[in-house]
């Protein structure tokens, strides 16, 4: 049994210790907002927050985040930054297929939580781990700036 704190709630999970956090979230808890894209921390579709830091859940064993504070897309709107980012994403219609966007939003929220006025270079650094095959990057950038303004 592995004990995890996800979105403020304690969960007991009967999974093998090597099970990545991604599959514990998705298959065991059926919290499906966090996506599988590559399994090797190359695409960022599985990004969640561990103690506020963006982490690739596909390459993080569930056993390694016991006792840490895990936040997923399902609860990102529990903080103001999360709400503002979601609103900016909706206002600018950033999404296309949408599969990567949970991860994009988690990375954007982590960025804006630490840096309220990111430059384009800051955005490149913080967001370049998140692939979008629909290439919604123009709007991701604009939405982060939009959210930064709303937070100012």
């Amino acid at each position: 049994m592995i004990k995890l704190t996800i979105n403020g709630k304690a969960h007991q999970l009967d999974v093998a210790p090597d099970t990545p956090l991604l599959w514990a979230l998705r298959d065991t808890l059926q919290m499906t907002g966090t996506k599988y894209g590559c399994g090797q921390a190359l695409c960022g579709a599985c990004t969640v927050h561990v103690d506020g830091e963006p982490v690739r859940a596909c390459s993080t064993p569930a056993s390694a985040v016991v006792g840490r504070k895990i936040t997923t897309i399902e609860a990102v709107d529990s903080q103001r930054v999360g709400q503002v980012v979601q609103e900016a994403w909706r206002k600018l219609d950033v999404v296309q297929c949408g599969y990567c966007q949970s991860g994009q939003i988690m990375s954007a929220v982590a960025l804006l939580s630490q840096n309220r006025q990111p430059t384009d270079a800051d955005i490149d650094t913080a967001m370049s781990g998140n692939l979008c095959r629909c290439a919604t990057y123009v709007r991701i950038r604009a939405a982060i700036h939009e959210a930064a303004q709303a937070l100012a």
């Binding site: 999974v15 093998a16 099970t19 990545p20 599959w23 998705r26 298959d27 065991t28 059926q30 919290m31 499906t32 907002g33 966090t34 996506k35 599988y36 894209g37 590559c38 399994g39 090797q40 190359l42 695409c43 579709a45 997923t72 897309i73 399902e74 990102v76 709107d77 979601q86 994403w89 909706r90 219609d93 950033v94 999404v95 296309q96 297929c97 949408g98 599969y99 990567c100 966007q101 949970s102 939003i105 955005i123 490149d124 967001m127 370049s128 781990g129 998140n130 692939l131 979008c132 095959r133 629909c134 290439a135 919604t136 990057y137 123009v138 709007r139 991701i140 950038r141």
Partner: protein
């Protein structure tokens, strides 16, 4: 050969107009509505429209939403003619039923592709909305005992000024559903559109930003098993024998079965299934496997290109023209296999029930997939229910001519005698190595200039595998040995060149499965034709925009987008370059899927040959702009998608094995490589044409032409070899 044949396919059929008002079945009976504690009753007005007692307007989308904005676009059209309140409009994926939901350009087949969703649905959705509106008006007129002509509908409210009566759609819906479906409806004058051409917001934004959007990957069913498959390392190899003892020892693994596609490990969850798959020991029979590498395939294509191919287009007398030419310009171009690499790897859920089968999928090819699954299980097609979910990208991959991954899932279910529903999950490596790539191509081009320096001859020879041969579309799209999609964009070259020959070799002994990839033939023909034209312009000493305008006198839509893009990009003005950097501007224009796109790219090339695409200015003519913001969004995305192929995209084979497996070896661009994109839309009242794909073809040639403007070097291979650009 395929057992499923789609006939009567014509991409241009819509130009002949659509016949009559065909809205499918009208079912006045009420259907139970949304899940929930409060029973909402929906009245089915027609095949595309349900109205709930809660005023919800549900538009049934016959097309897959894979990012291209189809759900929003179809709903916009219908809701405008219905005069619905946009905030009450929601969209639901239609079931597989080709009688009601066929793609009107594909005859009796339902499916999404060829950038046809808006174009083939335009009349249909307008009529469905207008008919719904007429039925609501009739119901109100009957209830209030007033003349229908005196009734006004606006934003979901039906009202009669004379009597002061008012009713919401929800209040009238059940009565409206009992009204006779009108045989003729009056459509709006475009000047009265209230949603079309405006900025209706996407209907899927909320669900796709809070994690609730449902993709195939997210389906869970009672007792469902997850399957991960060991696929052969080469195309055409098969299972000789396997040892599953280690796999079966892994906790969570339930079963291991052989299927025609390989060996499937079934487990209670994805991670256990993957571990089980990785623990399998499989001996492969490679006696029928395809074993060539990319270099050998290319060498073969270059050899084939030395001889004449089948003629795809012929005008004037090219032999005579080239024999008498004052100057001949020539170049050849190489294009690799490309993977679609959608963010959601291929997956499918299949549940075999007593007398039926249910499938959950980002379903792009209903009629074909339904027929194949039915045949495998010995069912009738209508016994196979397809649930259309959002697709996490496709770019053509989910419209597989051979239903590959759908059938794989069905085979697994068959192998376990249907004892549990199964979710087949491809790992990224399965997806990357699973074939059905954009085919490799080799092109050879020659242009003849006469004594006065005029472009008088053009010869374009292409070598590459056919996508359509052996598919259900063969009867319609392969004529006299020429696969239309191998030469699209080349055989219909718009430039006024009096002598033109386009010929094609289609190798049939290459065992790599190929498929349409966003923009299909134009993904390579736009590159070779538009880069070569710039090379010819350079040889003629002409400006690339001026030469194009000169040669496009008969093609006003090409001219329209070309002039708009050139003007917005300030074509001809100098670009400032920092010390040690070279900058250039390049242009390309291309028609695909009946839409016209011109792009001007601005590029910076550094001393070491590395480059940055700074800005891309796009001009688009896709007929009526149903949703201008979505058009901009699609073209922005197309620029990024095409740039990935230009800069990095390449699937290569060595001894028949695909060398790339994940996003390290096959790298779509990331945010730091994305240029600034400007999209300008040509105003039009013509019927809408495609927009999902047409933004792709001009990008790579515009960038290559910009690189040539900066460095003097034309690049003849995709992806670009930047080593050629070292200063």
């Amino acid at each position: 050969m395929s057992d499923i044949i789609i006939e009567n396919l014509s991409r241009r059929r819509f130009l002949q107009g659509s016949a009559g008002l065909t809205l499918g079945f009208c079912l006045p009976a009420v259907a139970a509505g949304k899940l929930g504690t409060v029973a909402t009753v929906d009245a089915e007005i027609n095949a595309f429209l349900k109205i709930g007692a809660d005023n919800s307007v549900t538009v049934m989308s016959k097309h897959l939403e894979m990012g291209q904005g189809t759900y929003t676009g179809l709903a916009t059209i219908l809701a405008d003619e219905l005069d619905a309140d946009w905030k009450h409009v929601r969209v639901e994926g239609a079931p597989a039923d080709a009688k009601r939901y066929n793609n009107t350009f594909w005859g009796p087949a339902q499916g999404t592709g060829g950038s046809t969703a808006m174009a083939n649905s335009w009349d249909q959705m307008r009529k469905a909305g207008a008919a719904g509106r007429a039925m609501l008006v009739s119901a109100a007129a009957r209830r209030w005992n007033v003349g229908a002509a005196e009734i006004v509908v606006r934003d979901g409210v039906v009202s009669h000024a004379g009597s002061g009566r008012k009713a919401s759609f929800g209040e009238l819906a059940l009565d409206a559903a009992k009204e006779t479906v009108p045989t003729e409806v009056k459509l709006k004058d475009p000047k009265d559109f209230r949603l079309i051409g405006k900025q209706a917001r996407r209907k899927d934004s909320a669900a796709k930003t809070n994690g609730t959007a449902q993709f195939t990957q997210d389906v869970f069913l009672p007792g469902m098993l997850v399957a991960v498959v060991a696929h052969p390392p080469q195309f055409g190899a098969t299972v000789k024998s396997f040892d599953a003892s280690k796999a079966k020892a892994i906790k969570g693994v339930v079963d291991v079965v052989q299927i025609p596609q390989g060996v499937a490990v079934l487990a209670t969850d994805t991670w256990s299934a993957k571990k089980g798959r990785d623990a399998l020991s499989v001996a492969w029979d490679d006696s029928k496997a395809f074993k060539l590498g990319s270099d050998e395939i290319l060498a073969k294509y270059k050899e084939m290109a030395k001889k004449p191919g089948l003629v795809a287009a012929n005008k004037g007398d090219t032999a005579k023209t080239f024999a008498g030419a004052a100057k001949v310009v020539s170049a050849s171009f190489d294009f690799p296999y490309l993977a679609h690499a959608a963010m959601e790897p291929m997956n499918c859920v299949v549940w075999r029930k007593a007398d039926s089968c249910e499938v959950w999928n980002g379903e792009q090819f209903q009629t074909v997939d339904q027929g194949r699954v039915a045949a495998l299980f010995g069912l009738k097609p209508e016994q196979v229910k397809l649930n259309m979910l959002y697709a996490g990208g496709s770019f053509g991959r989910r419209a597989c001519t051979q239903s590959d991954y759908v059938l794989e899932a069905a085979h697994i279910v068959k192998a376990i005698n249907g004892r549990a529903p199964v979710k087949l999950v491809w790992m990224r490596e399965d997806d990357m190595r699973g074939g059905y790539y954009r085919p490799m191509f080799h092109h050879a081009l020659e242009a003849a200039l006469d004594g006065s320096g005029k472009l008088v001859g053009w010869h374009h020879r292409l070598v590459g595998q056919s996508i359509i041969t052996g598919s259900p579309f063969e009867a319609m799209l392969v004529k006299d040995g020429i696969d239309h999609v191998s030469v699209e964009g080349a055989a219909n070259l718009p430039y006024a060149i009096p002598n033109l020959l386009v010929d094609l070799h289609t190798p049939t002994d290459i065992g790599v499965p190929v498929l349409w990839w966003r923009s299909v033939g134009s993904s390579h023909t736009a590159y070779s034709t538009e880069v070569f034209l710039d090379q010819v312009a350079a040889a003629m000493g002409k400006d690339p925009v001026a030469l194009r305008l000169e040669l496009l006198a008969e093609h006003p839509k090409h001219v329209g987008v070309l002039k708009l893009a050139a003007e917005k990009a300030a074509w001809g003005t100098p670009l400032k370059a920092a010390a040690g950097e070279r900058r250039g501007r390049g242009v390309a224009v291309h028609e695909s899927f009946n839409s016209f796109v011109a792009q001007v790219a601005e590029v910076t090339v550094r001393k070491d040959g590395s480059l940055k695409v700074d800005r891309v200015i796009c001009a688009v003519d896709c007929g009526t702009a149903i949703n201008p913001d979505n058009i901009r969004s699609q073209v922005e995305g197309a620029v990024g998608f095409a740039l990935s192929a230009a800069l990095h995209g390449e699937i290569t084979l060595k001894e028949g094995r695909v060398e790339q497996g994940n996003f390290d070896g096959y790298a779509p661009i990331r945010i730091n490589e994305m240029p600034v994109v400007e999209v300008h839309i040509v105003p039009s009242t013509a019927a809408p044409t495609g927009i999902g794909e047409p933004g792709v073809p001009p990008l790579a040639p515009a960038v290559a032409n910009a690189i040539a403007a900066a460095t003097g070097k034309f690049l003849h291979k995709m992806p670009f070899n930047t080593a050629e650009l070292v200063a």
